[in-house]
Amino acid sequence: MNTVLAEPTAARRPRSAPATDPAAAVARTRARPGVGGTLTQTFAMAWRALKKMRRNPEQFFDVALQPLLFTAMFAYVFGGAISGDVHSYLPLLIPGIVAQTVLTTCMATGTQLREDMDKGVFDRFRSLPMSRIAPLAGPMIADLVRYLIGASLTYLMGLILGYRPGGGVLGVLGAILLAVLTGWAIAWAFTWIGTVARSARGVQGISMMILFPLTFLSNAFVPSRTMPGWLETFTKVNPVSHLVSASRDLANNGVLTGQVGWTLLTGLAVVVIFMPLSVASYKRHL
């Protein structure tokens, strides 16, 4: 037991009149964020996401390794069975792998958003007078880098394995651009899952269940005419098939076909549906 004498309670310090006038502060407030403010905030959040990517390079493992691994694996395992030999399978396979890579990256967008939202710093974002779309849209801008890396690496790996795209440089660049845009659009669906699910693990589980059927029940890895009729019909409406077909037309033949239009249209539909849903769900988290 310490032998301590209590000091008398500190006298209340006198207060001068407050210097700031809250009435003036209230008068300065705005009812809602403006368009300019929303853009600034979105780019600030994108800057944050890019900084975090640079400092946690392990985040790039999925976009870097998947194209290399899957391209090689699928090419050597299925090549002979599906197209007779590896070399003639590559034009079919590479755009498929690109679509798969982009979709997996979308899943990472949702998972990371969920992880991020559980952190203390999101309490601050929520308490700031900022647009509610900025914390969602910001990281998605930063993720464009990941789609770009994933798509480019896949084509590069294809080239190494002997893929010679008939569409030339422009065709391939067009296919990459399309993949990046589509990835960004579809990511809104996964962002929505990110705001709805309870945990990052949950996001991953739900996303997997969507991703696998979507990529494999498409024309991404095999010609769909070998499938039963009902399945072939499904692959025809599957947005992944549109992206894959459009990419093949661009990269292998250098032509812009209606498939590009369908892909962009599907992407637009995803954005129109899931962007408002995501924002609403993020707001509800308050």
Binding site: M1, N2, T3, V4, L5, A6, E7, P8, T9, A10, R12, R13, R15, S16, A17, P18, A19, T20, D21, P22, A23, A25, V26, R28, T29, R30, A31, R32, P33, G37, T40, Q41, A44, M45, W47, R48, K51, K52, R55, N56, K119, G120, V121, F122, D123, R124, F125, R126, S127, L128, P129, M130, A134, L286
Partner: protein, 343 residues
């Protein structure tokens, strides 16, 4: 000059399932004061603060910040407040300067202005040298300071502080207190939550005590403390000392009955004025009552709680009250500060 209160809340309710985490709380915080919300863990302090700060929806009642309705116009309210949470709400992967720059940008500062503000705040909070370091390398005290700095970027008129010193060592705690006082001198209003009566006593102009989501008392810290006596004199009698005589002496000097623990020969004497401790000791010496040790402790939150609610802070009606506990021993924080003062 305005007389509008910084916070005006009536009948606030927050339900989590069947539990009413905040139950019909009325609150008025005047502009320019430090208002303390005192209560044990799980009393609903943080929940209430989050409701006022637009971080949780309001299930019942209403709240206004400087006359702006929290539920109806959260975006306006967010422009009037700064929130510093219990857990540092800064980004671990960014440096201190980057964090402040980001928060500045998000609140509409130009890039250069945000950088200048960040530098100024970091200097002001003694973090100038750590500006380019990542937060993950920061100590608890540095994090708190940075967190507080982040709440001040746009100089909001009202600052919410959720347990600003929980987990800090006594020295850092004192620095934090000084910083909070300076805020108010600059014209801010501060609403803080705390588990420590000591902290409320040091900082707050007025305090409300919350228990199980309900407000059980409100007043100045002095008003609260007088309900339990200003401090307690704890006497450990030497083995074989005459306990009955000791009690009689205390009764004669102070006119109050000491609380005794006969088995251990311990006497707890409530004191209105700490000076009277000396009178008691002298009288005991004259009566030849031998004493093994002496200490004077301020009332603990536990005692205030017991006086106000009839149960201790460790929730539940039969949790230990002040009679059975030695003040200062089950509230480590208070022990820390008494020890610190002794040095």
């Amino acid at each position: 000059m305005t007389t509008m209160p910084a916070v005006q809340a009536g009948g606030l309710v927050k339900r989590f399932g069947d539990v009413r985490a905040v139950d019909q709380i009325d609150l008025e915080v005047r502009h320019g004061e430090i208002f303390g919300v005192l209560g044990p863990n799980g009393a609903g302090k943080t929940t209430m603060l989050k409701m006022l700060a637009t971080l949780l929806s309001i299930d019942g009642g209403r709240a206004e910040i400087f006359g702006v309705d929290v539920a109806a116009e959260p975006h306006r309210v967010r422009q009037l407040i700064g929130v510093t949470g219990q857990y540092a709400s800064v980004d671990e992967d960014l440096t201190a300067a980057e964090n402040l720059w980001l928060f500045g940008r998000l609140q509409g500062l130009r890039s250069a202005d945000a950088r200048a503000t960040a530098r100024r705040l970091l200097e002001q909070f003694g973090l100038g040298e750590a500006a380019e370091r990542r937060i993950s390398a920061f100590s608890g005290g540095m994090r708190r300071r940075l967190d507080l700095a982040a709440s001040l970027i746009t100089r909001p008129p009202l600052i919410f502080l959720d347990e600003p010193t929980t987990g800090l060592d006594p020295r850092t705690r004192g620095q934090m207190w000084d910083t909070i006082r300076e805020l108010v001198d600059d014209g801010c209003t501060v609403l803080l939550t705390t588990q420590y009566l000591d902290e409320a006593d040091q900082l707050a102009d007025r305090v409300c005590v919350i228990d199980h989501g309900r407000k059980v008392a409100e007043g100045t810290p002095d008003e609260l403390k007088t309900q339990v006596g200003d401090s307690t004199l704890q006497l450990q009698l030497a083995p074989g000392a005459d306990q009955a005589l000791a009690r009689a002496v205390v009764r004669r000097v102070l006119g109050e009955e000491p609380v005794t623990t006969p088995e251990s020969g311990r006497l707890n004497v409530p004191l209105d004025v700490a000076d009277r401790a000396a009178d008691v000791l002298i009288a005991l010496r004259e009566a030849a009552v031998a004493i093994a040790s002496v200490s004077v402790a301020k009332p603990t939150l536990d005692e205030v709680f017991f006086a106000l609610t009839g149960h201790g802070t460790a929730a539940g009606p039969d949790a230990g009250g002040p009679a059975g506990t030695v003040p200062g021993q089950d509230t480590p924080s208070l022990d820390d500060t008494t020890t610190e003062r002794a040095r």
